[in-house]
Subunit: 410 residues, 2 copies
């Protein structure tokens, strides 16, 4: 196969059915932004929506907006808007709190639904907060935390050993970009009597997800990466309908109460996914999320997946001359929407690229991580970014000592 | 004592050292807003600050803002700005998550610091989320929840019975507006070997608070009432310095880790109040909070308290002819910054007042609740509001059936 030229890329962009979405984003001049898997770009609709919320809903209508502007129901309304992106029914999703807090709720709810068992099975290489939160939840529940590599036979072996109450896995690995077989792993876990919690942080808005079709039990995800809802935007919880009457999470605040305005003395969980809510949510942040979700309502996830794989394939091919190790699976169907490469000089390489306007990030100890967001990235952007990487590496430019100075990189 | 006339009020306003703060708020035309104890008014500086955060920090600088705009340290920076308002040292306060989540952290941390004891003592009439969260935390910890009336000898009796690990009380009662003796109750609890968690939702920004001076252990509060940070704005946690090395909260996410960027496999709590953090926070909401706190940095809380008591005294006196029962303590030093009145017709009375532009709220079963925010309320506003209430009640206008129709009131 002959590698694509820049002219080929221009042609692909002209024919791209998603190309028009790029106009809906603010993208700084001279930048190729390959970090949308960490923080998505700003949709042009967002500042206006936020200003409207702040100046009219809050500033002019004040407390009346809890009813009139639908503030009270926002966690459910946003959940329903998000649901199609993850293959869920509208009433199975609520928006609120952060990923860490929601993981805690889901892990404890899963343990409680499986009272005869005490093992929470996690993955050794998961994002730290998943590991730490599981430790915190397990300690409270008198449960045992075990970790395996879910891309190896260890997972099946650990399940077969018995006693596993819940499995918590990331759908897409934040470091490697590996996409897990949600249907197969969920089935395997269920066959062994375990419930499954999926962390969708690196897959929502990046790959089509079918939570209901895969019979998933619980899922949690953030909205500030591929969904472009802004830094630290509220996270979401998915609770499968079959658990709506029985799942019990411990952060039993008044927003999760069956009749919150009765102000009664005892907690009675609400019907449905609402029982996963706790307290009031930052409605200014919710306004930004709503602007994003309204755009996502017009997006065809199959087209996103198709373009995502084309972009990542292209980047993998074009960066081959740099000679870095490919960490991300080469096989398209096993990949999320990112490409990770490794090299002992990964850190200065990322810094040198940033200086040239190509924004990726670095994950210790040696991973260069590049996220591909089909809504605002063009094929030419990928071409230019790959060319920059090859040049930075092959010219030895990355060895300039100033790139080795450490900054905190998130 | 002769009641003040409207002319007297105009004079008081002219001499009010806090009067100029009113110009720093957006206040809708024709409204007297007496619900700042539920949702504070919008500071004029906020929309610009939020827009700057969204359009420049996020839109233009993207991921680099985690370092360059100080996003990573925002929970600590905002905590330090808030600290003087609650009599805390800067490193004892962090901002993040919501009140319910933070109450959960504090109650469990207190139980863990007192391992030989198993009772969490709450108050029968506390805001429901305090009650529900305590139930959820106690269940996980195998603890027992007990409730007393903290304004009665029950509190001392329950403490004397023994076994109380932690006491969770509201500094100001959300319904009655009663202000508790923080120093005395904290001392009493300590004398009986219990730790104390104070909920400051209805006192922060309303009364001077001395957490360090009172030797409080933990405190939690919201920022969307008297602090005017916007609907559902992030809450805060106070952790007394003497507990910084030992307090352990269960939502052990990566933002509370000692070395979050090492991405190690095991949770190690950070030094100081940072260990009460969990995950990423909604930074758009944080921007609104920062705008508010920067204003509060110029406020003298003693002047706020003085005016607050003058306003509430005035309202109590001027509404006396309406003949409603006063729920709030008549004695100024036992009062927060609200006045609650009760009447079986409380709901339609509140609706009738709202129609006249006087915004208070209703709390079941029969409480009319009015909050007084010295930064943006004038004496004439209080005069006019009181006159409206007297007229609505004495004219029988509140009996109009249209005021009885129920809306959800928050």
């Amino acid at each position: 196969m002959t590698a694509m030229t820049r002219a080929d890329c221009v042609e692909r962009d002209a024919a791209d059915p998603l190309a028009h979405f790029r106009d809906e984003f603010v993208l700084p001049e001279g930048v190729v932004y390959l970090d949308g898997n960490s923080l998505g770009a700003l949709p042009k609709a967002t500042p206006g929506r936020v200003a409207e919320m702040v100046e009219r809903e809050w500033g002019q209508n004040l407390i009346a907006s809890w009813n009139d502007a639908g503030w009270w129901d926002k966690p459910r309304v946003l959940g329903a808007k998000l649901a199609p992106l993850i293959g869920a029914a509208p009433h199975e999703v609520v928006v609120g709190d952060g990923t860490s807090v929601n993981l805690f709720k889901a892990v404890i709810a899963a343990l409680r639904l499986n009272p005869g068992r005490s093992v929470v099975l996690g993955e050794s290489g998961n994002f730290p907060t998943d590991l730490y939160i599981t430790q915190g939840a397990a300690e409270l529940m008198g449960a045992v935390e075990r970790r395996v590599d879910p891309d190896s036979p260890e997972l099946g072996e650990a399940l077969a050993t018995g006693g596993v109450a819940a499995v918590l896995l990331s759908h897409v690995d934040y470091r490697t970009g590996a996409l897990r077989d949600m249907a197969g792993i969920t089935r395997l876990a269920h066959d062994h009597g375990a419930l499954v919690v999926w962390d969708l942080c690196h897959s929502v808005g990046a790959v089509p997800i079918g939570l209901d079709a895969c019979a998933v039990d619980f899922a949690v995800g953030c909205t500030y990466k591929y969904l472009n809802a802004g830094p630290g935007a509220p996270a979401f919880s998915y609770v499968a309908e079959r658990h709506h009457g029985t799942a019990r999470q411990p952060l039993s605040g008044w927003h999760g109460h069956a009749r919150p305005f009765d102000f009664t003395g005892d907690y009675v969980p609400a019907e449905g996914a609402s029982r996963f809510l706790s307290g009031s949510q930052p409605l200014i942040a919710d306004a930004a999320l709503e602007a994003s979700l309204d755009m996502w309502g017009r997006v065809d996830m199959e087209l996103v997946r198709e373009k995502s794989l084309a972009l990542t394939d292209l980047f993998i091919e074009l960066t081959a001359p740099a000679g870095l190790d490919l960490v991300t699976p080469r096989q398209a169907e096993r990949r999320g929407s990112q490409v990770s490469l490794s090299h002992p000089g990964g850190y200065p390489m990322v810094r040198a690229l940033i200086e040239r306007g190509v924004i990726g990030d670095f994950r210790a100890p040696d991973v260069l991580r590049f996220g591909f967001t089909p809504l605002y990235l063009r094929y030419v952007d990928v071409f230019d970014a790959a060319a920059a990487l090859v040049e930075v590496v092959c010219s030895g430019q990355w060895r300039n000592p100033r790139f080795a100075e450490r900054e905190q990189v998130t």
